[in-house]
Each structure stands twice: as structure tokens, then as C-alpha cells.
């Protein structure tokens, strides 16, 4: 789905905040732990008590470098700044963040379909505390008062800022999915949007083809990939209506509301944000040596894009066709089976649809067994349906596909045998058959189902369909 209203081009850039999976916070030794009792993981530093000073967490720096390297960024000398503004969830009333000298710059992320999205920067900063709005409608503006828990204050974040290279809603979704896969692969974050350890803001604008970019709005409060897609679609429609009515889009921050499916202007007093950035004097510069960067980079696992490329090559298909299999960590199984001589398409289909998602990484069989199964199917010893059942049993108990098939009494039906069953079913349903022949296609299911039932599932569904079509055509 494109999401761009007719006659318009959609331009989207995403800012993703990711909480790093460190043991402790960015500048103090308090636990970085979601879900603890409020205000128990706090100390003078992360509470911003007078006199306290920050000391940077080495692991957080390394995870930030991991993210940068995985996004093909240049890892650079960097400097923390203070971003000054008042907000009760910020203990010091400034956020320590990286401003004009971020640790990672100038990378890219390749989507599964090959579209490349530029990464402008991926910088480090500290998270804020958590505010709960009480009374009134429980929403920020009509609340009577708010309560603040600083357990999250000072948790290390990396903010990943894409270039405005995203043109469709699908690309936006796929960018987030791909980024998440990378973060999980390098073990930088658990990247859970529902727990807030991955938070996405979208900058959305429209322009007429050939025109320069339009004014953008920043959409916040996107708590799932689904709301990201819905919000971009809504916002694109809203902007198109404004522009088509001769109006202009105001550059502003808008809040996505999941219930009414709309974005809302924040109506804050129009204070031009004047953050008064200046170098954080309580921290020194970060200047990772080439050796340190190299050491972090060499410990990185193979990334999803490289794995897709490798599997696609091994299977002779496009990278997009193997995306799900790689996402499920089944690429080595498939590649192994293909190397053993299994048919790549059949192997991919099974890996994609017929294996339990949860246990993909510790299946009780290997590439050899998987290849044997695919080969039996290809040879006609098993129908597709039988192969699926055998595979399901293999996933539970291990065991060789030949033994499981024998134990289940599976033997593929000869074509002649199948033909006679099909003819019998047609004879049993004369009315339905004539309607099917008159073009009522949905009746095909009835005939396939009846044949399957009659053969106890031993028939190949594709073969049955082919026989039905051939008879109708006569």
C-alpha cells in the first residue's frame, strides 16, 4: 500500500528511539530494568540530585557502536551536549544527548525488497522518567495532576534518524521491522514497541510530483507497527485535504490517537523550542580508537540483509522471497537442505509456512533430515499435505521422514487411482458439477475437500485441482 493520496508523493523520515540492553543506566550504576516498583532504581545521579555527576557506561557505548556499524555508519569522535528544557520527567531539566557530534553518522539500511533508506545519524542520549496522568480523562491535557517515576530516567537510548527516503507506508513498516531485526541480531536492545523499548516518531510530508518537499509534521505516540502505518495514511490524507483546499500545512508535532484513528495537534503554547544546547561540561569527549571500533565490529553477527542475500543466492530466488525465512532464523536450515540437493522452492515454502515459529532455532532435526523430506515430496513419494504432516511430526520428535511416513501409512497415490476417485466424486454431485462447469468457481473447494476426505488426505491438492479443471474443460 502506498499511502499517498492520488496526485501526491509521500515523503517519510523516521526517528526511532531504542533503549539499550545494558545492565545499568547510561551515567550511573542503577539497574536498567523495566517493570520494577516505582522510584526504586534511582540514585543521586539519575535523580539529578544537587552535586551528583555522570560517568559514562562503557557497554552502552559499545552497543551504540554495534548499532552504528550494523547500519553501515561511520563511528566518529563524539561529544555529549545538554538539551535544556523544563519537563517534570527530566530530573535535571536538561537531557544529556549528542548534538552536532554524534557517535554514528551516514549509514544506510536496505529493506527486504532492496530499497535503501539512508541513516543520517544514530546518537546516544538518556531516557526520561515516566509520567502517569491522573484524574480527568487520564490524558495529558485534561488530567488533574500527574505522577512521576524516575526508574527509566537515565536509561541509555540510541536515537536512529533516517533520511527522508521512505515513500510508502509499506516501506515505513518494513523499515521498522528490518531495524528491529538488526537490533535483535546485534543484541543491542529487546526492541519491544509495546514496552516502549523501541519508540518510533514519523516525519510526514506531501508534495506534487516534481515539486520540492512540502512542510512536514512530526507524528508521535506510535505504539505499534500497525499504528505507524495507520497514522501515516491518516496524516497523508489530512495534509492532502488541507493542501487541496488551498491551505498550507503547519510544521508541528501531532499526536496519534489509536482510538479515533486520527492525529491531533498538541496545541502547546507556541514556544519556539530553544534548547540552548552546549557541551556537557561534566563529561569528557568520546574518541574511540580504531582498534576498539574494529574489535566491536568483528564481534557483530551476520546481519539480516547479508543473510537474505546469501540465502537468495543459494536458492536462486530474490531477496524478498526469503525475508520471512531469515526473520525466523531458518536460513541455515534451508541453505543446508538446498546444499544437500533439496528443491529450493519447496524447502522455502515449508520453512515459511509449516514449521512452528517459536522453536525455529532449536528444531530436533537438521538440514539432512529436512532435505530428505523435501526430496521425498519432489519424487512424488509424499503429497504436499503428507509432507506437511511428516514435517510437523519431525518438529516434535525428530526422527527420519521415511520412518514417520511409513508409521503414518502414507504412500502417495498414483495418478490413475486418483482419477477414479475424482470421477466418483463428480458422479456423486451432479448438480454442483454442472454449476461448477457453468463458472461457479467457489465450488472447487467442495470437490477438493470431498476428494481429500475420500483419500484420507493422501491426495495431492494441486493434482486434484488440475484434474478437476481438466474435466471441466472437456
Amino acid at each position: 500500500m502506498s499511502g499517498a493520496p492520488p496526485g501526491w508523493e509521500l515523503v517519510v523520515g523516521l526517528e526511532v528511539h531504542v533503549e539499550l540492553g545494558t545492565a545499568t543506566k547510561l551515567f550511573c550504576g542503577c539497574p536498567n530494568q523495566f517493570g520494577d516498583e516505582p522510584n526504586t532504581n534511582v540514585c543521586p545521579v539519575c535523580l539529578g540530585l544537587p552535586g551528583s555527576l555522570p560517568v559514562l557506561n562503557r557497554r552502552a557505548v559499545e552497543l551504540a557502536m554495534c548499532i552504528g556499524l550494523a547500519l553501515h555508519c561511520e563511528v566518529r569522535p563524539s561529544q555529549f551536549h545538554r538539551k535544556n528544557y523544563f519537563y517534570p520527567d527530566m530530573p535535571k531539566d536538561y537531557q544529556v544527548s549528542q548534538y552536532d557530534e554524534p557517535i554514528n553518522v551516514d549509514g544506510y539500511l536496505d529493506l527486504a525488497d532492496g530499497h535503501r533508506v539512508g541513516i543520517e545519524r544514530a546518537h546516544m542520549e538518556e531516557d526520561t522518567g515516566k509520567t502517569t496522568h491522573m484524574g480527568g480523562g487520564g490524558r495529558i491535557h485534561d488530567a488533574d495532576f500527574s505522577l512521576v517515576d524516575y526508574n527509566r530516567a537515565g536509561v541509555p537510548l540510541v536515537e536512529i534518524v533516517s533520511r527522508p527516503d521512505i515513500r510508502t507506508v509499506d516501506q515505513a513498516r518494513s523499515y521498522v521491522g528490518e531495524l528491529r531485526a538488526i537490533l535483535l541480531a546485534v543484541e543491542a536492545s529487546d526492541a519491544k514497541m509495546e514496552e516502549g523499548s523501541m519508540r518510533v516518531d514519523a516525519n510526514v510530508s506531501l508534495n506534487r510530483p516534481g515539486d520540492p518537499w512540502g512542510t512536514r509534521c512530526e507524528i508521535k505516540n506510535l505504539n505499534s507497527v500497525r499504528s505507524l502505518g495507520r497514522a501515516i495514511e491518516f496524516e497523508a490524507r489530512r495534509q492532502a485535504e488541507v493542501l487541496e483546499a488551498g491551505g498550507s500545512v503547519a510544521q508541528e508535532t501531532r499526536h496519534w490517537n489509536e482510538e479515533d484513528g486520527r492525529t491531533h495537534s498538541m496545541r502547546s503554547k507556541e514556544e519556539a523550542f530553544d534548547y540552548r544546547y552546549f557541551p556537557e561540561p561534566d563529561l569528557v569527549r568520546l574518541d574511540p580508537s580504531a582498534g576498539w571500533i574494529e574489535q566491536v565490529g568483528s564481534a557483530l553477527p551476520t546481519l539480516p540483509a547479508e543473510r537474505r542475500a546469501a540465502l537468495a543466492e543459494a536458492c536462486g530466488v530474490s531477496a524478498g522471497d526469503v525475508a520471512l525465512v531469515v526473520e525466523r532464523d531458518l536460513d541455515s536450515l534451508v541453505a543446508g537442505a538446498v546444499a544437500e540437493g533439496a528443491d529450493p522452492r519447496r524447502a522455502l515454502t515449508h520453512a515459511e509456512h509449516n514449521l512452528p515459529v517459536e522453536s525455529a532455532t532449536d528444531l530436533p532435526f537438521g538440514a539432512e533430515g529436512f532435505a530428505a523430506l523435501v526430496k521425498m515430496e519432489t519424487a512424488g513419494d509424499l503429497t504436499a499435505t503428507q509432507a506437511k504432516q511428516v514435517l510437523a511430526e519431525m518438529a516434535v520428535s525428530g526422527g527420519s521422514p521415511a520412518e514417520i511416513a511409513a508409521a503414518k501409512g502414507f504412500e502417495a497415490m498414483g495418478t490413475g487411482e486418483l482419477e477414479s476417485v475424482v470421477d466418483q466424486i463428480i458422479a456423486d454431485h451432479p448438480d454442483e458439477w454442472s454449476r461448477f462447469c457453468d463458472g461457479e468457481d467457489k465450488l472447487q473447494g467442495l470437490f477438493v475437500g470431498a476428494v481429500m476426505k475420500a483419500t484420507g488426505g493422501n491426495a495431492d491438492g494441486g493434482e486434484v485441482t488440475a484434474l478437476l479443471r481438466a474435466r471441466r474443460g472437456r
Binding site: Y87, I140, D287
Partner: protein, 100 residues
């Protein structure tokens, strides 16, 4: 820096700094800050485009700590200092602006 600091500047800055200055303070600060900034005019006028800034007197880099948990504070001790507390959290009046 040809223009002198105005009363409007002082009002704007007071809001940024969250100081509810009264009218007399605004007038006084308009005068005093302008006068202090006049003394800074020599600095502002220096032609030192090619001089790098010094944010810090020490040439230290890469001061890091290990990712090891240290004890947090006792919650009761922390909350005892707070002007208003409810449900083990810091209570504040309603928030009109947005988080950034």
C-alpha cells in the same frame, strides 16, 4: 551585537528559565543585563573565527565505567524530600505542554 537587549528579550528569557519575574524585576534586569552585555561587547567583537573553542580545561577522553550495578537509594529516604508524593511517585500539578 548591535542591538541592545530589550525588555521583550528579558520576558522571553524569563519564560525559558521559568522565572516568574515581576514587572520591577523585568525593568531592573533589562537595564542590568544590557549593561553587563556591554562589557561583553569587546569579546563579542573579537575576530577569532579560526580559534577553536575550549569547552573544557582538561584534555581527557574516554572516561568510562563498567556496566555493573551499584546500590540505588532507599525509596523512602528519596520521597521524604519531595514536596508532594502519591503512590510512591512524585506528584506534580497538571502538565500543559508536551514532552519533547
Amino acid at each position: 551585537m548591535s542591538e541592545r537587549l530589550t525588555r521583550d528579550d528579558v520576558v522571553y528569557v524569563a519564560h525559558l528559565a521559568r522565572l516568574d519575574l515581576d514587572a520591577a524585576e523585568i525593568d531592573l534586569f533589562t537595564e542590568q543585563l544590557a549593561s553587563i552585555l556591554d562589557h561583553a561587547a569587546d569579546v563579542a567583537a573579537l575576530d577569532i573565527a579560526d580559534v577553536p573553542p575550549t569547552a573544557h580545561p582538561l584534555p581527557l577522553v574516554n572516561v568510562l565505567r563498567d556496566d555493573e550495578v551499584t546500590p540505588s537509594l532507599d525509596r523512602d529516604e528519596v520521597l521524604a524530600q519531595a514536596p508532594a508524593v502519591q503512590d510512591h511517585r512524585f506528584r506534580v500539578p497538571r502538565i500543559l505542554g508536551e514532552a519533547q
